[in-house]
Symmetry: C2
Subunit: 213 residues, 2 copies
């Protein structure tokens, strides 16, 4: 398999974690988002939507969207599972993942921040306030959802799941912008539990070949 | 089952479509987003994250996030299926759904538009330009993905799927803001095919009990 991705892309990071958790080898193909490589003709031939990450299977099929990729990996390489077996548990994990992937991250990715500054002409300070607002309020919602679930080591249960694949990159991302993580005990405990695992460590941006520090 | 939702919420509309496609009866519980009812204590007891929609199962479990709810419905009421059986087909449908639910809709929902106007003090015109920019560029990405897939009646294949549950509300939403839908032949053909089906018609905002026109 080949993963078209970028070291600092949170969505790419999610997929790298899943690949590492499942012990799957892959070729790392960097797509430099800041240099606009995702908008090149070469990349359009890989991913028509021009989005990163994209997983290229051994038979040459290209799959986009990080959560769709992770579910594909989970269905084709079931061990260790990244979703529970029962429908309610699966819904809980997917809803947690989507709280990050549909409520927080879309507001904070590179093209949105660029639009705010270049097209809307908002100040750097207003952009950073926007950023922190959505990460903080989104993580408060995540924490509120965790608080109603039984005690667990990770976001859901005692093994890492799709939810943790989404949570960890969001925390990394928030740290770069000095987001306040206080008062989020279960969320940060899940993050800490993840970061003790070699799979999460190996997948992090600082270990990527295109890492620029 | 009970669905906590709002007639004009795109994410609520997605779930209503899925319930109608599967022929499942449900109680319609309106949560008025513009009046802030989702932020009430009463609703926090239902949905800790305060987001709409939320599905309350017959055993009293509450599930949030529209795509998670629809997958839950598909797993617990498999007919008619809203996802293909094979992993690659499932990944294609999920990726299309996420192109809308993770790339377009999060930038255009009520709380984000409110933040732009109230907190960032952008003009009404700049807000509308922002809105159209993300819907248009997102649908162009959707169209580009459809163009590489085999010919089909709906977004993927010849039966409606999770992708169509997400597409149709996004088009409704875009129409309210006069988005340009030209040059999106496969996308709009899928939309038209959906709107011929009674399930999509029944689920639309104008048929909701809390519809304000």
């Amino acid at each position: 398999m080949k993963l078209h991705n970028y070291f600092r892309s949170s969505a790419s990071f999610r997929v790298r974690i899943a690949l590492e958790l499942k012990g799957l080898a892959y070729d790392y193909l960097p797509v430099h988002l800041v240099k606009g490589e995702h908008k090149s003709e070469r990349y359009a031939a890989v991913s028509p939507s021009g989005l990163v990450p994209a997983l290229e299977t051994d038979s040459g099929e290209v799959i986009g969207q990080s959560m769709a990729i992770i579910e594909y990996l989970d269905e084709t390489h079931p061990e260790p599972p990244l979703l529970p077996k029962d429908p309610l548990g699966r819904a809980r994990v997917r809803a947690l993942a989507q709280l990050i992937a549909c409520e927080i991250h879309p507001l904070n990715n590179l093209r949105v921040l660029k639009y705010l500054v270049r097209d809307m002409k908002v100040t750097e300070e207003a952009k950073n306030t926007w950023y922190r607002h959505w990460v903080r309020s989104g993580l408060e919602a995540y924490e509120a959802e965790l608080q109603r679930l039984p005690a667990s080591t990770f976001s859901f249960g005692d093994t890492p799941s799709l939810a943790d694949c989404c949570l960890v990159p969001q925390i990394f991302n928030g740290k770069r912008f000095d987001v306040d993580f206080s008062g989020l005990p279960r969320t940060m405990a899940a993050f800490d539990a993840c970061m003790k695992l070699p799979a999460f460590q190996r997948a992090q941006p600082s270990n990527c070949p295109d890492n620029e520090g």
